[in-house]
Structure formats: structure tokens, C-alpha cells
Symmetry: C2
Subunit: 260 residues, 2 copies
């Protein structure tokens, strides 16, 4: 839980951990935080809503942190709730500052003026992506051949319907890394893993991949873990131990090898 | 000529003119300047080489400025020679910091270390694209539906061969705006206009379009004007007067209309 852990600055660049990592993996967590900066208040949410999956991806940050550590990768995560601004959405997408999420109205997002859309975009979205971009460009320039992997969690029950999938691997234009991750997960773990579940690129969930990886030809994948499997720090750590060898094997099959 | 006109700061964000423009056009000129900041010296070039088309796109900035004014568009241009860093190239492309350009060796680029590649990337490329990105995101958030048009010039003789084309319209993934511009140019002007000449996306010349427009679905085009047609301020202005109605007509045919 990150609520209250950050200062309320004018802009909210991403938190970067393990910046000097030598591995290829750049692990990104756009929905790491359920922090609501004072500037936007609680958007009219109840405390329960502000703790629920509509505000963030519970467990995703802990898992991402464990993966970055085990893979010697960098970790980049957003410090603000996705209900203030969802950094995995462009500024003109409805989901960027959603008026409704699953069954819940978001009162503070019901009538956002163009000026407020621009202000949130400038304060949250632009600094997040600039920070990630600068990090990727530095690694590309140094010949480190980064691979971009975004980490998300999903709720086991959505609109009242249980979800059986446990581990979703989602691709955008380049299927190489996602298909390798899926194959390794099926071979190495007992997880019920599926391609493009519970979401796919058609649901506009691959914005970060399209923006940060595709223009540079970087290997990329979006991973979705059912959040009941990463509901405690111990479970996050265990899942990181399960998935790190999967990602390592999938990245090892990529070409080119990093220049080191 | 921009040599010496800029201060030698640690980073080189783009110059933005007419920032409050109300029109859709965001005019970009990556090769506007032949300025060589003191930090990198003259890269071992002769004064003639530093004034030649290998260092910048002569005439492009004047034309771009005239177009922005006539179209009520924003102008975004790079303040550093493309031989220091070509902002229309990703950091791992050979052309980003070229060791050779047409017939000329670039001594200062002959043996660039990974650290120096990263330093130039951080000082020139990243600030340029962050500045353009922030501007585009602000316009998207406000519902202004920006259209991205990059302005380049090309030499009439390349590797000893004369070029007959006068006006090249280059597309990347989305052909809509480029094909409309070509049709309007053929209908409204005496220019010898061609699609994807003298370069095309296969030559890696559409990086800015791929990075800044494609992920957001923005209409986009790259324009190339033969530099003997814009060799004086008067000629730049006359070409802007010729091409502004072409671009205005092509943009007017786009959907959606800007929300105003």
C-alpha cells in the first residue's frame, strides 16, 4: 500500500528502482499505487473503493519488485492511482481518467474539463512516460538491448463472473516475447496461463508497449496475474520465484543477445 | 543560419514557436539547425561542410516557419546539427550520430563510445522528443486533434546524381494525410510531386512519425522539398505560400474535425 507514502509534488515522475541493473529486463508497473495526491482529493471514493482493484493493481508492485531483483532488471512504477490518471492510456482514451470503473462511478471524474484533462496529463502521464523513455534510450544507446515487460494484476471476479485464467500473457504488434513467455510458463509452472486473457490489445491495454517499445523494435510483453495469487507479501515473493525463470528463459531465446 | 545563435546548455530542448496556435498543424523540423555546441566542437568538419546539407536541411526552418504562421500551427524545431545527433533517428540507428554522410567522413563521429552515445542521446534526442511529446499530449488532452507534419529539404544532387523530384510526400503506417497532400499538391501547384521520394519509410526516415504520431493515431506526414527551391528567405516564403493551401485542404478532409 502506497497511500500517503509519496509527497504531493507538482509533477509525478515514475519511481525507478535498481537503475544500474545489468540485465535486459525493464519491468514496468503503471498501476502500482493507490495513492491519491491531495491536489485531487479522493475523487469522491469511499475508503473501500480507494483500496480496491479499481484504484490500482493489488500485488503487482510487490511481484514486479521481486522479478526485477531476481532478473537483475530495472523497475519503473507510477506513484499515483490510475483513477487520477491511468498511465497505460493515451490522454484521449476514456480510460485515462475514467468516469466509471467496473461497477463503480468515480465522482471526481464525472465531468472533467479540457483544462483539467490537460493538467492531469501534464502532471502524471507525461512525466511517467518521459522518465521511462529516458531510461530506455540510455540503455539502447549503451547497447544493452532492453526488453520491456509490464506487470498487471486482475480481479478474480469481474462484473460478477469468476475468471479461471491465472496468468495472462498479452501481445501487441510483436508476438515473439509473449509467445516465448507463454510456452515457458506452460512448460515450467502449474499456472493456468493463456494468451491475450483476460484482456487483449483490442481492449486498449497495450498503450505503454505501443508507445515505448514498438517504435524502437524492443521485445515487449504485458503480463497479467490474478490478484488472489499475489494477495500477501509472501505470495508476491513466491510468484516472483515462479515467474522469474520463465521470463529469463524467454528472454534468453531472443536475438540479439545484449552487448556486454 | 543558426550557428552560434543558441547558448550551449547541458541539454537542448526543442525551440517552440507559436505555442498557443489554434490550428491542428504541429510542424516539426528535426534538421533545422547547423549549430555545433562547444561541448562537441566542430566534429572535425571544415567550415564548408558545417554549412552544407549534411549538417542540416537548408531552407527547411524558414519554410516550416512560414507554414506554421499561415496555418496557425505550432512550430517545433531542433537547435543542434543532425551530425551531433539526428533527432529523426533512434539511438541505435547508424544515422543517429553518423560516421559518414553522403561523400563526407565525420571525424568526430568515427569512434563514439557507448558512454558518448548515451550522453548525446540524453542531451539532444531525449529533450527534443520529450518537448514535442508534452506539446502533443497537451493538445490531445484539450481535444485539439493535432496533425503532425515534419518538414525536410533534400539536396538536388546526391552521390553525383541529379534529382528531378521537387516535392516528396512520405508516409509511414497511415497513408491518409500524405495521399491527401500529394493529391492537393498535384491539383494546386506546378511542383513535381511524388509519393515516397527521394526517401521512404524503408530508409528509416520516419522515426519521428512512428514515435510521436502512430501510438496516438494522429494524422501524420513527412514532407521533403528540394533545397534549391528554398535557397533564399524570399524563396522560403514563396514556397510556404504555395504549400500552405495544399496542407490546409488536406487537413480539412481529415476526420474528426478538431473540437473547438
Amino acid at each position: 500500500m502506497n497511500a500517503g507514502a509519496q509527497s504531493d509534488a507538482a509533477v509525478f515522475p515514475p519511481v525507478i528502482e535498481n537503475a544500474a541493473a545489468g540485465g535486459r529486463a525493464v519491468i514496468v508497473c503503471e498501476h502500482a499505487s493507490n495513492h491519491f495526491p491531495a491536489r485531487w482529493g479522493d475523487l469522491g471514493l469511499t475508503p473501500d473503493q480507494a483500496r480496491a482493484h479499481i484504484a490500482w493493481d493489488p500485488g503487482a508492485l510487490g511481484l514486479a519488485r521481486g522479478l526485477a531483483r531476481r532478473l537483475d532488471g530495472v523497475l519503473v512504477h507510477a506513484p499515483v492511482s490510475r483513477l487520477v490518471y491511468d498511465c497505460n492510456r493515451a490522454p484521449d482514451m476514456a480510460g485515462a481518467m475514467p468516469a466509471r470503473s467496473e461497477l463503480h462511478d468515480i465522482p471526481g471524474n464525472a465531468a472533467i474539463t479540457p483544462e483539467e484533462r490537460a493538467a492531469r496529463t501534464a502532471a502524471v502521464y507525461v512525466p511517467f512516460h518521459d522518465g521511462l523513455h529516458a531510461l530506455l534510450m540510455d540503455r539502447i544507446a549503451r547497447g544493452l538491448h532492453p526488453a520491456l515487460i509490464t506487470i498487471h494484476s486482475f480481479t478474480p471476479v469481474y462484473f460478477g463472473t469468476p475468471r479461471a485464467v491465472e496468468f495472462g500473457v498479452i501481445h501487441d504488434a510483436d508476438e515473439t516475447l509473449p509467445r516465448a513467455i507463454l510456452a515457458e510458463a506452460l512448460a515450467r509452472t502449474p499456472l493456468r496461463a493463456e494468451l491475450n486473457e483476460p484482456y487483449s490489445a483490442r481492449d486498449d491495454v497495450t498503450h505503454t508497449l505501443r508507445l515505448q517499445a514498438t517504435p524502437y523494435g524492443l521485445p515487449n510483453a504485458m503480463l497479467e496475474i490474478r490478484n488472489d495469487l499475489i494477495a500477501t507479501p509472501q505470495a508476491e515473493s513466491a510468484m516472483a520465484a515462479t515467474l522469474a525463470p520463465v521470463l529469463a528463459a524467454a528472454m534468453a531465446a531472443l536475438t540479439p543477445e545484449p552487448a556486454q
